[in-house]
């Protein structure tokens, strides 16, 4: 295909796409003028029905809790496949040597890691109250472990994330969500139906079973991202022929 033909093809399809996009954007509701019934309804009833001030969390872990179960298992399945593929081809016994960074860099890095870890716990715990929750907090927690590695202490990183514990977190997080769903069936209601004391809106202990599902997702996401990061790191050191650092 010649350059001119390719440009002509791009021009035609690009102009078409741009026209369609403009048409779609022009048809959007103005910002702040939301009219969909489902969203307006949830905004009105959530605080009264579930005592959670963050409506998004109530939707994710309650009104649409079943969808989240599916999403959680998508993450679980993809991470398990990465682990299966990479662990299989890697020769056992990594050859990675510890690359020590200077003390100030390590100290600042570890300081940041601890701070990020605390922020992650905060974001997870306050999921039903303020923006955030298990998904976001879980990734923040995993980022804290990545920071511990970037501080130059591979040995510390491996000591903080022993493989059995990470694998366990990955399984317990995914399974725990389903277990909470089954618990509500044992209590006589539908799968994943909210149970437990709803508590006072705006406090940490509010939302019935929402904090439990939130916690399960946090464990799952933290485990998943730490597992991914570890597998990539091991892959870097365990590739045959690659010089160890």
């Amino acid at each position: 295909m010649t350059r001119r033909l390719r440009l002509a093809l791009f021009g035609a399809s690009g102009a078409g796409l741009a026209a369609l996009l403009l048409w779609a954007v022009a048809g959007l509701q103005n910002f702040g003028h939301y009219h969909e019934r489902y969203g307006l309804l949830l905004n009105q009833v959530t605080v009264g029905e579930r005592h959670t001030t963050n409506v998004v969390t109530a939707i994710v872990f309650d009104y649409r809790g079943f969808d989240t179960l599916g999403e959680e298992f998508i993450l679980f399945a993809s991470v398990i496949w990465v682990a299966l593929l990479l662990r299989d081809v890697r020769e056992p016994g990594g050859r990675r040597r510890d690359r020590m960074t200077s003390d100030p860099v390590g100290l600042v890095g570890i300081g940041f890691a601890v701070a990020v870890f605390v922020i992650g716990l905060y974001v997870v715990a306050h999921g039903p109250i303020t923006p955030g929750g298990g998904f976001q907090g879980g990734v923040v927690l995993a980022a804290a472990f990545a920071l511990a590695y970037l501080a130059g202490e591979y040995r510390t990183y491996r000591a903080l994330t022993p493989q059995p514990a990470v694998d366990l977190a990955e399984g317990v997080g995914a399974g725990g969500y389903a277990v909470v769903g089954i618990a509500s069936m044992l209590l006589g209601s539908a799968f994943l139906h909210n149970f437990g004391p709803l508590g006072t809106a705006g406090t940490l202990a509010s939302g019935g079973s929402i904090p439990l599902l939130n916690l399960a997702v946090a464990i799952e996401v933290t485990g998943a991202f730490v597992l991914l990061f570890t597998e990539f790191l091991e892959e870097l050191s365990g590739t045959p022929g690659a010089p160890s650092e």
Partner: protein, 77 residues
Amino acid sequence: MIPLQAIAIALVAAFALALALTHDLVRLAMLSSVYALTLVVLFLLFQAPDVALSELVVGGVAFPLVIVVAIVMQRGG
């Protein structure tokens, strides 16, 4: 739309264009992280803090990290 939101949209557009025009992979990884930050600001200004948090960690940290690791692997450690 308030002026701040218009500025955020313009920033996202500018960085998306820069991202599309970047060919060096290491620069691409760095720039995609900055692009994610402009998206975070956009989501915050349009009152979607939950999405902003997710974008911050996934787009700002996790995605560039995977690209950087892939580059290192390609170059043989």
